[in-house]
Amino acid sequence: MTQRILDISGLNVRFATEDGEVAAVSDVSLHVNKGECLGIVGESGCGKSQTFMAVMGLLAANGKTTGSARFGGIDLLKADERTLNTVRGNRLAMVFQDPMTSLTPHMRVGRQLTEVLERHRGMDAKAARAEAIAMMARVQIPEPERRFAMHPHELSGGLRQRIVLAMALLCGPELVIADEPTTALDVTVQALILDLMRELKEKHGTSFVLITHDLGVVAGLADRVAVMYAGRVVESAGVREIFAAPRHPYTKGLLACTPRLTDAPTAVLPTIPGQPPDLQKLPPGCSFHPRCAAVFDRCRAERPALAEGGTLNACFLNHTVAA
């Protein structure tokens, strides 16, 4: 049996705002197996980042969680800061999406790397330096010794993102959560980083969560995919199934929106009509029904559960057959 390295169950994330409570994530259950890459797909604001911020214990102060997220025998949602700090950056690491602001501007990048090793590996400054430079070389940063002593603003976006990646990989984590790791980068650097992640996955058995809205990236790296909409998982399946036979209308819409090289250059790219809903004023029934082409009466009244129906999905169209 495959070993589950991260097991999220019934996760809810709520933010108390001055305009009332916002349900950013509702009843999300996901798991990541050892050595696999789970892709999380959805439009911005669908709760995909907040799900994993909650897992990392990095929610904003007005955020509250319920449910559980088990990682290596610890429930991350209930663990205290001290316990979390033995796990974060060590066995569980996160790569953030914005390389321009994710590094501390007034510290040299080398120091920002070595402090992780000093903290989790108890290394002295010299050993940490050697290790950090070695890791910088591994993520293909040219002239790592020179770059080690630089401040973030002296590095390009691509180099900074590689620093952030190196930072996550320093302690050989079992699971890396990568939140849009390649969005801000140009295509060649993007390919480089994805290759690196693939290599780690295959050679070292590192597990990944890949949060992105870029389906191309998912197709290249993920083993399984979960699609999120308005704070919920609406479809979850193996990567081949999702791309070959998506079942949820939203997933279908997302795939249809992605341009393909085989399309005629003049073809009009379809879009999903409407906008993601206001999380404070979710429509009754299925959250997707106002934008869904296949909507019928039941969708407006009742929320479909995530259930088996070709894939694991939340759409009556697929369930009625089974039921």
């Binding site: 933010f15 705002t17 916002v22 929610l59 999380l279 404070q280």
Partner: protein
């Protein structure tokens, strides 16, 4: 702010098409401190304006039967007592309030006028004009301007008009910077481009499009400048360089009262309560407006 919150706000704005001002008003209404401050300020202003006409004693009349400080006395009509020469304290405080508020508002208007003009022109015209004006602002920032207010007050006599002109002339710097920044960011927006393309004159565009759009920050800044000016006026009056007898202001009264604090505490307490309450309210209101008009600040 969390990205989920931001996303929620964004979509809320898009879907319902609420205007900035409705949104801001809604947020302000929920801020009780700011709302209460607005009401208190209204009351203070009204009382200062109307109050003196309804009192039995004019502010400058000496009660010749009691030429000495007196605690509150209802029968004689000195509801909050008198000062050391027997003048009615409440009447003096209210009239002083008129002066302080007037100097505060007028000086701020002067600052507003200069600041918005310089800022909008610098931001909108750009290039050399911008550089020149901002160098000037930088230069004036590194000069102790209070000194110049005092020099002006000394040289040209201590009158009202000069006082608020002088104070206004030194308080516009921050306003100019803020407005310039706002204008620069607005300049690239489509509707300005459109106005330009359709052949509007620079002055017209500034007046019709830029000014209304920087109004938000300007209102916040005005609310926060007025109390500063009132403080500056009180400071000048304390040094004997501000408002002169027979006129009075909160600063003058505080100064008189502070000297007699030991024997006649009411002479300090009465004006101090009025003035600090007013300053508090302006500050709370300003903070509240800032939060309401710029939710990112939260």
């Amino acid at each position: 702010m969390t990205s989920a919150h931001a996303a929620a706000l964004d979509t809320a704005g898009d879907v319902e098409g609420r205007s900035l001002w409705q949104d801001a008003w809604r947020r302000l209404k929920r801020n009780r401190a700011a709302l209460a401050s607005m009401i208190i300020l209204g009351v203070v202003a009204a009382v200062c304006l109307i109050g003196p006409y309804t009192l039995p004693w004019p502010y400058d009349a000496i009660d010749w039967d009691h030429v000495e400080a007196m605690p509150p006395n209802m029968e004689l009509g000195h509801y909050l007592g008198t000062d050391s020469v027997g003048r009615d304290l409440l009447a003096r405080t209210l009239v002083g309030g008129r002066v302080s508020l007037m100097v505060g508002v007028l000086a701020t208007m002067v600052a507003l006028f200069i600041g918005v003009t310089v800022g909008a022109v610098a931001g909108f015209v750009g290039g050399r004009v911008d550089q020149l004006l901002m160098r000037l602002v930088d230069l004036l920032y590194s000069v102790p301007l209070t000194f110049f207010v005092i020099i002006l007050m000394v040289m040209f006599g201590r009158n009202f008009i000069l006082m608020f002109l002088a104070i206004g002339a030194v308080e516009w710097l921050t306003m100019a910077r803020i407005v310039r920044g706002q204008t620069l960011s607005l300049k690239s927006k489509e509707f300005i481009e459109a106005a330009r393309a359709s052949g509007g004159s620079t002055a017209g565009i500034i007046l019709r499009h830029v000014v209304p759009n920087v109004l938000g920050v300007v209102i916040v800044y005005v609310t926060l400048t007025i109390p500063q000016v009132i403080l500056l006026e009180s400071f000048l009056s304390f040094l004997g360089l501000g408002v002169q007898e027979p006129f009075t202001s909160w600063g003058v009264l505080l100064n008189e009262g502070a000297a007699e604090l030991e024997v006649n505490p009411q002479t300090l307490i009465v004006p101090a309560v009025f003035m600090t309450a007013t300053l508090f309210c302006f500050n709370f209101l300003g903070d509240g407006l800032r939060d309401a008009l710029d939710p990112k600040d939260r």
